[in-house]
Subunit: 339 residues, 4 copies
């Protein structure tokens, strides 16, 4: 941590900052420049910040953080990529490639089984389906809740697919752990810290979607909440960020894939369906995600998108989905991934 | 709701949309333009959207919503401003003006009582103080939890101030209802729908902060979650939105004040401390908020900002806060508000 | 300037950075922290950056700028506020308050004179009117060009108002200097550096609008282009920035007013008409601007807004404008400004 | 165009809107819904908007545009992709793939020739190099101007590469047309309409970069300015947009590639160097661009990035660039493009 003093900071103000550091048992490293003085804090800066707000000291211009606040999620402390083994040969991370497919919302057993069949036929390894739906309006369809999870489990039974479903509260999480292979935490709950802590106390892999306007650092800190609770099996999912552009629902931040690969060892999945909100952009964005180094994709598939209770405009029907995976396979091969 | 067809939509595609409307017992109003056909849905569009995803129909260009999805929060359905009476003469809304002041986080009884004294002396009617703190990093100070609420209640006892405190989970909410006069739901939880629903089942006023990148419509829909649960005493709080600008922590959306006054009957408070993140901008932004029509302010006050465990750089000390309220009073008088 | 090395930077990499500094005749100030080494560049960093791209050196994590790149616009080098004297008692900056009013586009002499009359009657000191219009579509009305400037000059003749008009090219600038009292450079041209340089070679005051997504630092650097050319009479104008929010055309960054007052000595004007794009929000935002410390306002007034060729939805008619200035006067008095 | 009336609009207000349409010789198509009345404008809406500002009429809630304002750039009016033939077998668009490479700024003949050699060896068909540099600070290196163009022409002579260079003013454009094969208009000048019009009067292909916060519709309207002047050889270039995320310099909007392919027949190039600002992200983003359907790439190459006068951190050295094109070839083959 570096404390930058104002150009007109007095000697007393500089001394005051130095003393605050010494009082915490740390060492101030003072560097007098032509115009400004900067003071490095050598030692455990966490200890220092617990007792001080250096931005508030008189004469301080700004405080620059030199290192990241996340540790367990940080590649600097674990160079090897995390690989999450779901059993039966389904792995996420490393040189594996995974496709999660299914409807945005579980609407009925029949709809789900048709979707699962479509996912299976096209080669997807994991079935997605929302039982607890976070919806902007309280008057929109809110999901089948635990009944939806039962249907998901039945679909797994029949197809052998692994299953992932979103939880929107600690209660939903407590229900979901009895059913799912992966817990999903959605964009709106990325900083629902109670939910993150609760997920950290389970031993089920967690897929953490990026918040709608979360920075990559905030996202990795949110992963750190789960990991610091004891559950290190976290999968990140880029699903588009909010910008001023309106031709897509969100703006897929494709750079997040290489940035995450640079900063963290955790696997990252891309969701082109939510990112674009437009069916016809799912294929080109899926290819871009594979090419950029993504570890997998999450894609909405619905037996009859025009009747979907949620997110119909971006869902593929079974035929479109098979066509998509056929188009994707050469890209997955080219990047040397197992699918 | 208006469904706009593509320029090259076929007669069959147009007929298909019409039929989907008729099948829901509603009436399609078709208008053939020179280039495009548009179809109005006359009747209960909610019913229609429960069964159809018109964006997914072949030949459809886009779907335009004509009316808002929130009802109880909508000024169209309740023209008179909502006034929330906390008792002892403290009211929020109408021609009242309220100031909520106190530390970002409750750190100790002593720190809180000093803050409360400062708030009281400067004329604030409500004490703020965080017992459950949502923090980006799991390693940052997380709050005193229920002990913090006890201190808040004690500060109320001693000063007569009303108290407001943030809840970050349903569990925290269940504890807080036994202590606070106003429940605060923070920006990160604006779309924590389970928490909103739980707050809707209480009979305690709720202050709902705008999400860090929430649109005003999403914000009013979040208020609708609380109101549709039976609790119509909702206060909105603008606290800055996320933009690319870095000279302030967030960008205070001052326009939100008149926009909310146009769209809703709910009172709106402005938080210049979180919006700017910089102490010296709190005064000018407070004046701007009053001038723009805000119903109140929420301001961070700490007996010793340089030692604050959270948000020190934006906190005022007691002397600065008294000076601030003295500067604000002529503005509050000018807009004809009671303070 | 501070160069932060990576945690795993080698001694050779650190030496390499030091040498690059020494080779420029400057002094490297090396500080070895527990995890990272940081190197301060003492001396003329401009000289260093002309010859080096330190972000590209092996082992470098990041480069932190400690001081701003603008000098003439910087309050650190000129503490007193700049006051621009247009003659006849019209001054911008200091404790003066100025209102610029008129139509977005000059459409006809009659329309302009009616607008000028309205501006004059309501107390505005400066008439605005666009002769060269930057329009998103090439098929929209592009302005009367030099004929519009002639009408502006005639309106000045008849009313005694000072006049301001936008230039969109060096050619337009060359025409405008023969007519106007203030040259306006619009948001889309804030980084049209050739135009900025040309404006810097005139001796006519320049009002520089903030670019639609310009940071405050970029804005002050754009002002620096004009000032470094010899023309130090620059007025800044905040006109809203682009965000995701759609209930206003842009988001008025009200914090820009105190931030500019902190960083620069230049006067700042607020344009609530363009910022909001909505007539009924002009009054509350004008009041907010005054309260926040703005040096003036720019407001669209049109004799018949419903027929305006440009920006009708946000224009006030003459009666509305007189009512507005009457509402604003007590606020201007309260902040101790002369109007 | 659809005019949506307010729920409480009076019959007189509705009649007023209808009359305004009839007075322009057009036909109002009125549709009375349960809550609101909507009025379609049938006929030449441009004519209508030249004389009316319907948003300003009493009783009007909003005005919805149904069709785009750009025509020549619109795929609806020209389905076949535009292919720009630069001669000597170099084509942009269709199933061709093109790489433009070279330094951000031309610094010296030697530096440029080394870059050109590197570009040539790696298979690039076009040499980029900036002679007129738009720089945020007036004190930063501004380019060699016409001397830089001479060096570019000499590099073409020696290598056979086509050349592209940015113009930042009409004067620069007038110089550049004597040298370059493609004129580049940069992000900061995307809405410098005088420059766009001037470029439209030349017969040299123009590459138009997307403005730093331009919507795709604004971008296509900017292209329309050039095309409506008579020069239909426009190439679009996505170079990242401004968002709140700071781990990359801008956020590459990869979705812009399929969106442009949906809306326009013009070719689109991606610039991963400027989009990310980080050397190591250039390779994954280049692959993503190819996979998403881009017609080409623009990449910064410098013989010695650590000494580059501009944008060193994102430049590749010659060896890195050859390695990059080798990695990209299989992706270009996979999408069936000629390179």
């Amino acid at each position: 941590m570096i404390i930058v003093m104002k150009p007109n900071a007095t000697a007393a103000e500089i001394k005051n900052v130095e003393n605050s550091i010494i009082l915490c048992g740390l060492f101030p490293h003072v560097s007098n420049g032509e115009h400004v003085t900067i003071i490095g804090v050598v030692g455990n800066k966490k200890l220092y910040l617990e007792k001080n707000s250096p931005e508030s000291f008189p004469g301080v211009e700004k405080v620059v953080q030199v290192s990241e606040s996340y540790k367990l999620a940080n590649k600097k402390f674990k160079a090897d990529p995390t690989i999450i083994d779901l059993g039966d040969g389904v792995k996420i991370g490393g040189d594996n490639f995974v496709i999660m497919a299914g409807p945005c919302a579980v609407e009925s057993l029949e709809q789900l089984l048709e979707s699962a069949e479509a996912a299976k036929n096209a080669g997807a390894q994991i079935l997605r389906g929302g039982a607890y739906k976070p919806r902007t309006s309280p008057y929109a369809f809110q999901g089948l809740e635990e009944k939806g999870l039962e249907y998901m489990a039945e679909a797994r039974e029949r197809t052998g697919l692994k299953i992932i479903s979103e939880v929107t509260s600690v209660n939903a999480l407590e229900a979901a752990v009895n059913y799912v292979d992966i817990i999903q935490i959605g964009a709106r709950n990325m900083q629902n810290f109670e939910l993150l802590k609760a997920a950290g106390r389970t031993n089920i892999p967690v897929m953490l979607k990026r918040g709608i306007s979360a920075t990559i650092d905030e996202w990795l800190n949110a992963a750190e909440y789960i990991m610091s609770g004891g559950n290190e099996n976290v999968i990140l999912c880029e699903r588009g960020i909010r910008t001023y552009e309106t031709s897509t629902r969100n703006t897929l931040d494709i750079s997040a894939v290489p940035v995450i690969k640079e900063k963290s060892h955790l696997p990252i999945i891309v969701d082109p369906s939510h990112a674009s909100g437009v069916r016809k952009y799912v294929a080109p964005l899926s290819k871009a995600a594979i090419a950029a180094g993504s570890d997998g994709l999450m894609i909405e598939v619905h037996p009859n998108p025009a009747c979907a209770l949620s997110d119909g405009p971006q869902s593929l029907n079974p035929d479109e989905f098979i066509q998509l995976t056929n188009e994707l396979k050469p890209f997955i091969n080219l990047v040397g991934r197992k699918f």
